[in-house]
């Protein structure tokens, strides 16, 4: 008979995560299950709305990555219009998306994960958080805020506001970038670049202190998936899908993202509302793949900017083929911020960024459209079907956190096997399970966040169901 440990951060409604660790009779961890209550009801909610409203609606799914939903939705709308949007609109959407990547990665790295690196995984959980970081390393905390603000400012300048902008629409964007807006962005770039380069230096120096975590935080073979340019370069807004294996060998290349159903399957397990996407040709669960910054750097042949390419070369030293440890999601995030800043500079330096040709006007010309973008956490698919008049009849959204579901489960299992000893929950184990999940930066924020939510609850149960140990946080 197996025994079970439950780790449950209890929010008052949907959106919470729960972890169950199954022990075998010898007290070793046999399996782990990371449950996320999915936001499936949202897709039903969209039915009956016009596809032209969808970018603005879906941008409100999330307060952290609204731009990714906005752009994937607008691209699905482009497909429904059957238009080639102006190059200027593509560039502006891409620019806003870099703002999104920068601000979201900065939040994940500086404010959620750097307390682990800088204060230590075994430090008091009451201090191993953003306030502890602010006390021990205030300058790093302030730099993180400034970097995040820079990304948000790009979004705000283009979209008119930093959250829920309804600026990208089917056919392009509603307004061009002004010369003044361009100047404001350029003014913030030097500080942002300095911050990320300084951060890369200290992070790389600290890696020796986290060798155990690099070894057991999701360090296993899997496939990796992401968008790439036509020549295999790092891509976040457009391009086609590439899949590589653990050896870094290309398994599939230049797959049409709009035909994702041909190569991505979605398995269902009775213990989770969240589906388990997998690479169809390899079956379930052998077709496990990871998405997000680690996957993007693994699939890309090159970044295409000088500083990021130098960092990519160093990053690749951590793998023989693909870099396998999910701990390196953090490292990959920093490189992607650097890449984003370099690309922002390049795009702003091009006078064409101020073009006013930013929208193609058309009526609906198709009944089905797919839009894909690389959200900060990974590949995001929006797939709509509409009827005459453009009202939505069916929606499917495949989000990054879902695609990393199998990998997160395997990561928790690996960490628990290493750190669970006996029948008592240790702080060290709990801290590392949390940190292992945090590496993926799963987006649980689509739920509500009103006052009164509860915190982390960990329970250890005997084979007979009796509570052996319990830890509550918050």
């Amino acid at each position: 008979m197996s025994r079970r440990i439950v780790i449950e951060p209890v929010t008052r409604i949907e959106g919470h995560a729960k972890i169950s660790l199954y022990l075998d009779d010898s007290g070793q961890v046999a399996d782990a299950r990371f449950h996320v209550v999915e936001f499936r009801g949202f897709e039903k909610f969209c039915e009956g709305r016009s596809f032209r409203e969808m970018p603005a609606i879906t941008a409100r799914v999330c307060g952290i990555c609204p731009v990714s939903h906005l752009l994937a939705s607008a691209k699905a709308g482009d497909a429904l219009l059957a238009v080639e949007i102006p190059e200027g609109a593509k560039n502006l959407r891409r620019l806003m998306h870099f703002g999104q990547i920068i601000q979201s990665h900065a939040l994940s790295f500086f404010h959620l994960s750097s307390p682990d690196f800088l204060l230590g995984y075994d430090s008091d959980p009451a201090k191993r958080n953003i306030l502890g970081l602010a006390a021990a390393h205030p300058e790093i905390a302030r730099q993180g805020i400034r970097l995040r603000q820079f990304g948000q400012e790009i979004i705000e300048i283009l979209g008119g506001k930093r959250i829920h902008p309804s600026w990208a629409v089917p056919g392009g964007v509603t307004r061009p970038l002004t010369a003044e807006g361009r100047e404001r962005m350029l003014r913030g770039l030097p500080e942002a670049l300095e911050t990320i380069q300084r951060t890369l230096v200290w992070f790389k120096q600290s890696l020796d202190d986290h060798q155990d975590e690099q070894r057991v935080f999701g360090n296993f073979p899997s496939l990796f998936m992401g968008l790439v340019t036509s020549d295999g370069g790092l891509e976040h807004y457009d391009g086609n899908i590439r899949i590589v294996d653990a050896a870094g060998k290309i398994v599939a290349d230049q797959l049409d993202p709009s035909k994702y159903e041909e190569y991505i399957g979605e398995a269902v397990e009775p213990w989770s509302y969240l589906k388990f996407p997998y690479y169809k040709p390899q079956g379930y669960p052998a077709g496990i793949y990871r998405v997000g910054p680690l996957a993007r750097l693994n699939v890309a042949s090159q970044c295409g900017t000088p500083l990021a390419d130098q960092e990519l070369a160093e990053f690749r030293q951590f793998g023989r083929g693909a870099v396998l440890s999910s701990f390196h999601f953090h490292y990959a995030r920093l490189i992607e911020i650097l890449f984003g800043l370099e690309r922002v500079q390049q795009m702003l330096d091009d006078p064409k960024i101020l073009t006013t040709e930013v929208r193609a006007l058309a009526r609906r010309n198709r009944f089905e459209g797919v839009g894909v973008a690389e959200a900060p956490r990974g590949t995001l698919f929006h797939h709509y079907k509409v009827r005459e008049g453009g009202l939505i009849t069916w929606v499917n959204m495949i989000i990054a956190t879902g695609q990393n579901n199998l990998a997160m489960n395997r990561t928790v299992t690996q960490i628990a096997r290493h750190y669970v000893k006996g029948e008592q929950l240790s702080e060290g184990m709990l801290n590392r399970v949390e940190a292992g999940i945090r590496a993926y930066d799963p987006c649980l924020s689509c739920s509500t966040h009103a006052a009164g939510r509860m915190a982390l609850d960990v329970t250890l149960l005997s084979p007979e169901g009796a509570v052996l140990d319990r830890v509550t946080r918050g």
Partner: protein
């Protein structure tokens, strides 16, 4: 400057009540900057640190839907978390630690009836919106008066109806 920070998810029924309150405040409250957010994140601390007072507006759980409550807030420590959200108390503590100041603060909540997916507020929460708006306006007025130099004449437009 007094900051009103209204937050919640407007696609989750009553969780969007703060957005509605903010919408009404923007048309009726002088002397305050109104921010509408999906959730609280670290950079809110910078805004808070520049304010003389901050009023957070949020939905809450409780047995009586539509109940409006106001309470004072003080800076408080955070816990390690898996989500991207931080609490109002943590925002205040962050402002204090990073920018050396944390203003007086209050939280105005409206108890929710439903967090189901949708853009509409429930009937009791809709009815409570004017009361929540008045609660915020009252705080803005009181705090504005407290920060004005003695003898300053106020125009009627600067004093919202309570």
């Amino acid at each position: 400057m007094i900051a009103v920070v209204a937050f919640g998810n407007p696609l989750r029924g009553d969780d969007g009540v703060a957005w509605r309150v903010a919408q009404d405040l923007e048309h009726s409250t002088d002397g305050a900057v109104v921010l509408t957010l999906h959730q609280l994140t670290p950079e809110v601390a910078l805004v808070v640190s520049q304010a003389t007072g901050v009023i957070f507006v949020d939905a809450a759980q409780g047995p009586v839907p539509g109940r409006v409550s106001t309470c004072g807030l003080t800076p408080a420590s955070a816990q390690s978390t898996l989500t991207h959200h931080i609490s109002p108390e943590t925002v205040l503590a962050l402002a204090q630690r990073l920018y050396g100041t944390s203003p007086r603060a209050a939280l105005v909540t409206v108890t929710a009836e439903s967090f189901a997916i949708g853009e509409l507020l429930s009937v009791p929460v809709t009815r409570a919106v004017p009361e929540a708006v008045r609660a915020v306006q009252q705080l803005v007025r009181t705090w504005s008066l407290a920060t004005l130099p003695e003898g300053t004449a106020l125009s009627p437009a600067r004093i919202p109806h309570a």
